[in-house]
Amino acid sequence: MNKVVSKQHFSENVVSLEIEAPRIAKARKAGHFVMVRTDEKGERIPLTISSADTAKGTITLVIQKVGVTSRKLTALEPGEFIHDMVGPLGQATHVENFGTVLACGGGVGVAPLLPIVEALKKAGNRVVSVIAARSKDLIILEDQIRAYSDEVVIMTDDGSYGQKGLVTEGMEQIIQREKIDQSVIIGPGIMMKFASMTTKKHNIPTIVSLNTIMVDGTGMCGACRVSVGGKTRFVCVDGPEFDAHEVDFDEMLMRLNGYKNEEKEADDAYNCQVDKK
């Protein structure tokens, strides 16, 4: 059992939870994630460790409501407990001084991007960040990203904040303007697909952090498999970060939809329960 110690609302659908987990806080590095099970009936879902406080023995997760589990989690209040949490999992981000790094985050993908931006900055890189979302209230962690970036460009689909346009347009502007040595892209699958095509066009080495469906998160089930460079890899143990230009995004997007019907049923059932209360 892990205790929630504090909670912050970033937007209506995005919540940040600070959770007691001393061992994980100590062991984690940028790029790592945890598997979380809210209660005895819950499923196990992966969430990136957005930051950690080793002195307090806590980690912070930033969670977007999309289905049953993420909604149960975002409903937790300080003092309440998460039934199971295990980690840190996955391979840590490879951090070095590349020169200039273009860091792109879409939606809640900005949360897993934050520790990477921080690590890259501390390794001496010049970091230019592009954060994008559908509208202003979905832009999260702007100040934190600013703290570790030399420059931040904000893009919204509806133009309610920053520039109006897609993440790829913001990326193009920067790529046209200066030499980029490395790029990191994290966000929804479809955003990563198109953002990766942009960097590929310009021959910029790029890393993406994939968010496949997972069950155990320890390499035991294969639910998280993706094709990278024509080979099947497990995101939970081989990743979650991969060379963006080798990933078969279409296959990944297809697999993400694999449980749509079942998830919709669970979600409807959950809504029913909540409505009854």
């Binding site: 819950g42 499923e43 039934h83 199971d84 999992l89 035991m220 294969g222 099947t232 939809n257």
Partner: protein, 462 residues
């Protein structure tokens, strides 16, 4: 010796194939006593040499014959920490029963050692009077067990008996390894495993779930926290795929994923959040216990049709004979001497068909089994909406990844001394599937026990 072997009472095939009721219902006391009387208490009981943990088989059976069922359970527990589990899942026909006098000398059906073992263990469990093995005075030495499968549990039981402060660290949120996440309820109810785990708890063994050694903390960090010895029983958890076209389509999953969703996450139970694909036409690839468990689970999840595709013939199937028989009774179809070569999807990327190739048996390979050879031009297509791939597992790489000095074989298994189960790192011992590749519950337990004995010696010598 003219009595015939007892038949295990079973739930009717048609009913059980749609429910999670345990298939084998267990012997009645009369049946058990009768069966026990078949054992002639051989002067040289060859059966014992067939049991990897060396249970004193005639002794426990004679206890049953005399109606002293609790004594029988106690005898079992002298050498086997999980008799209720082994009585259910051991491939007895290849182990103890294969070496029984009846089988070896008279070519008659062996004494039903497994059924009797289960009977005695269940009797004890149902009476609520569980005997807890005696534990030596605490010696204050901390040892850590990586993984709570049968290897780790057996090791922990013996170390607790020696007086050690034993901590089992388990990656998942449940204790039991494959016994929990793999083997289904209809064959091994989780409640049975839990009772046996509870016994270990009473002996002082401590359990910590959600702890991945090598990730949550390294062996070195645990050393610094005072652990003096480590036993790695981390199992062979990585599913293998065949790397054929279309294998990543939606609706194709490993047996580990399929069984984990159902057994560990309770996907088939109302009110649980984890979903599972409920195919109507489910095809399972493989011929081991895992394949049988998957295909029978498919029926229980409501499949109209459940089929096994296996590349050799029925005789070569590695699954327990009883599981194959049960699967047949329940209506599973067997496409033996067939092998998938490609999966074909619909426009949403979900599997709809399998291209299958016929096989024939060629010369025996190193394992003595005749190896399958594809028949040229024999390919044909069958329909399937869900495919479960059950073609084996590889050793879990987490521990070797975090301990670079650990000696590992070409197949990723840990290299240990055959006698002592010590790895190339002196305070690290290992056993079970992480050493053997995929094996059996009882072999894993045997390893755990031997490793405990030699770690005890090693730590005494320190």
């Amino acid at each position: 010796t003219d009595l015939t072997r007892v038949k295990m009472p079973e739930a009717p095939a048609r009913e059980r194939a749609r429910s999670y009721v345990e298939v084998n219902s267990g012997l009645t006391p009369e049946q058990a006593i009768n069966e026990a009387s078949r054992c002639i208490d051989c002067a040289n009981p060859t059966c014992i040499s067939g049991c990897p943990v060396g249970i004193n088989i005639p002794k426990f059976i004679k206890n049953i014959e005399r109606g002293e069922f609790l004594d029988a359970a106690r005898t079992l527990k002298e050498t086997n920490a999980l008799p209720a589990v082994c009585g259910r899942v051991c491939p007895q026909e290849k182990q103890c029963e294969a070496s029984c006098f009846y089988q070896v000398k008279m070519n008659r059906e062996p004494v039903a050692i497994g059924y009797l073992e289960r009977f005695a263990a269940d009797f004890e469990q149902s009476g609520g009077e569980i005997s807890i093995p005696e534990v030596a005075a605490a010696n204050g030495t901390k040892v850590a067990v990586v993984g709570s499968g049968p290897a780790g549990l057996a090791f922990a039981g013996d170390m607790a008996k020696f007086g050690y402060d034993v901590h089992i660290l388990e990656a998942l949120h449940e204790i039991g390894g494959v016994l929990k996440y793999g083997i289904p309820e209809f064959r091994l109810p989780n409640g049975v495993v839990d009772v046996e785990i509870e016994s270990l708890r009473k002996m002082g063994v401590q359990f910590e779930t959600n702890f991945i050694v090598g990730k949550t903390a390294t062996i070195q960090e645990l050393r610094e926290e005072g652990f003096k010895g480590f036993f790695v029983g981390s199992g062979a958890g990585l599913p293998r795929f065949m790397n054929i076209p279309g294998e990543n389509l939606v609706g194709i999953l490993s047996s580990n994923e399929y069984l984990t969703r159902v057994n560990l996450m309770g996907a088939s139970t109302q009110g649980m959040d984890t979903p599972v694909m409920r195919g109507k036409n489910v095809v399972v690839i493989g011929g081991g216990n895992t394949a049988m468990d998957s295909v029978r689970t498919a029926l229980r999840l409501g499949a109209d049709k459940a089929t096994i595709i296996y590349r050799r013939s029925l005789e070569e199937m590695p699954a327990r004979v009883e599981e194959v028989k049960h699967a047949q009774e329940e209506g599973v179809e067997f496409l033996t001497l067939n092998n998938p070569v490609e999966y074909i999807g619909d426009d949403k990327g979900r599997v709809k068909q399998i291209r299958v190739q016929k096989m024939e048996l060629g010369e025996p390979d190193q394992s003595g089994r005749r190896s399958p050879v594809p028949v040229e031009g024999s390919e044909y297509i069958i329909d399937a909406d869900t495919v479960v791939v059950s073609v084996g597992v590889s050793p879990n790489p987490l521990i070797p990844q975090s301990l670079p000095d650990l000696k590992v074989s070409r197949w990723g298994t840990l290299v240990v001394d055959e006698e002592t189960f010590q790895t190339s790192i002196p305070d690290v011992f290992a056993g079970g599937d992480i050493v053997r590749g995929g094996a059996t519950v009882i072999l894993a337990m045997g390893d755990g026990r031997k490793a405990a004995a030699s770690m005890h010696q090693y730590l005494q010598g320190q």
